[in-house]
């Protein structure tokens, strides 16, 4: 059932396309264009608190008939459960979840659609690239690129997206980044096919994106709301009420949330605890 590391073998044309895209987004946010085009070395981390991987029998029970394929993107290895014929649907999990969150929905959806269930990089059984500076390898932009490359691996240049929680932020970034290439006027020959992902017949569905999207970049939420959200959600136990009362507490949460996967890395823990001092929370949407 499991296909071992059926990595993408990119030909020269695909590499050129990818380079064209990356060079573009590199002008706006990613400091080094090479960071997103080269395979990022996997940081060896120790996560003894994690339970052992579930057996294949568990996967077969939760996702009957699904096949797992490990897709090697330009920056990570993404395990994907997939099944079905019909229009392609990519379902993205949120935080702190994995693809398993879709187990009550995906099997039936696969009766009409080709359903793809990845673990976002750093989550579940995906690889854990080094963080980069400033955490560039865990920006939603990098995660969105993973998913575009993953779907391309399966032959889908256009697809539907269903996303939950932080996965919806990845989907949002996917929508904004890829059309932008076209808008910025790349020569047609260099335009990656993936810019059609969010145009034409494609539709993107955000499921619950829980308002995490309208994070308080301005007057969209009161500080007290953020404090309330932070406390009620219980997602960020390292943050104290005093932290939550600070003007940018919510922003810090956003920037750092993905880094929980590196919680064994003491430098990251310190960064998380530093609240607004975190370099990843300064509006990059990481």
């Amino acid at each position: 059932m499991r296909e071992q590391d059926s990595a993408i073998t990119m030909n020269r044309r695909e590499m050129l396309k990818l380079s064209a895209f990356t060079s573009l987004i590199g002008t706006s946010a990613i400091p080094s264009k090479t960071q997103a085009t080269q395979t990022v070395p996997v940081k060896q981390v120790s996560l003894p608190e994690l339970p052992p991987k579930p057996s294949t029998a568990v996967a077969a029970k939760l996702f009957p008939g699904f096949t797992q394929t490990d897709v090697r993107t330009s920056g990570a290895t993404i395990p994907v459960f997939h099944k079905g014929d019909g229009p392609a649907v990519l379902l993205l999990h949120g935080y702190p979840e994995t693809h398993v969150t879709w187990h009550k929905v995906a099997p039936r959806l696969a009766e009409r659609y080709s359903v793809y269930l990845p673990d976002l990089r750093g989550y579940g059984d995906s690889s854990r690239p080094s963080d980069g500076d400033p955490h560039v390898h865990y920006w939603f932009r990098a995660m969105a690129l993973d998913q575009v490359e993953t779907m391309r691996h399966f032959g889908h240049e256009r697809f539907l997206v269903g996303a939950h929680d932080r996965g919806a932020r990845v989907a949002h970034r996917l929508c904004l980044d890829f059309p932008r290439k076209r808008e910025q006027g790349l020569p047609h020959g260099h335009r990656s096919d993936v810019d059609d992902v969010s145009t034409n017949q494609s539709r993107v569905r955000y499921q619950v994106h829980v308002a995490v999207l309208p994070y308080p970049s301005g007057a969209s939420a009161r500080t007290s709301d953020w404090a309330r959200f932070s406390i009620l959600s219980g997602r960020h136990p390292w943050r104290t009420e005093q932290d939550a009362g600070r003007p940018h507490a919510g922003r810090s949460e956003r920037g750092c949330s993905m880094l929980l996967l590196h919680i064994d890395d003491s430098s990251h823990v310190r960064r998380l605890q530093s609240g607004c001092g975190c370099r990843s929370c300064d509006g990059r949407g990481g």
């Binding site: 706006s28 946010a29 269903g162 904004l176 569905r205 829980v210 969209s220 939420a221």
Partner: protein, 74 residues
């Protein structure tokens, strides 16, 4: 980078369907549809389900229906 896109007027160009849990912490705090409409140039629809944050696990049937209905119009 989201803020940069907001400033530049870059918006989602595909239809968006938003769902949220009525018993979650988000619905009471924000106007979900208005928020997405401000960030999307295309149609934005959506509604709340009678559950908390994890719709796909708490209300899988409704979530599935919403997915199929929305995707079916693609």
């Amino acid at each position: 980078m989201d803020e940069a896109d907001d400033r530049a007027g870059n918006k989602i160009v595909v239809p968006v369907h938003a769902l949220w849990g009525a018993k979650g912490t988000v619905g009471p705090l924000w106007d979900i549809l208005a928020t997405w409409r401000a960030k999307a140039a295309a149609t934005v629809t959506g509604r709340s389900l009678d559950c908390g944050h994890f719709l796909q696990e708490e209300r899988p049937e409704e979530t599935l229906d919403e997915l199929q209905q929305f995707f079916g119009t693609a």
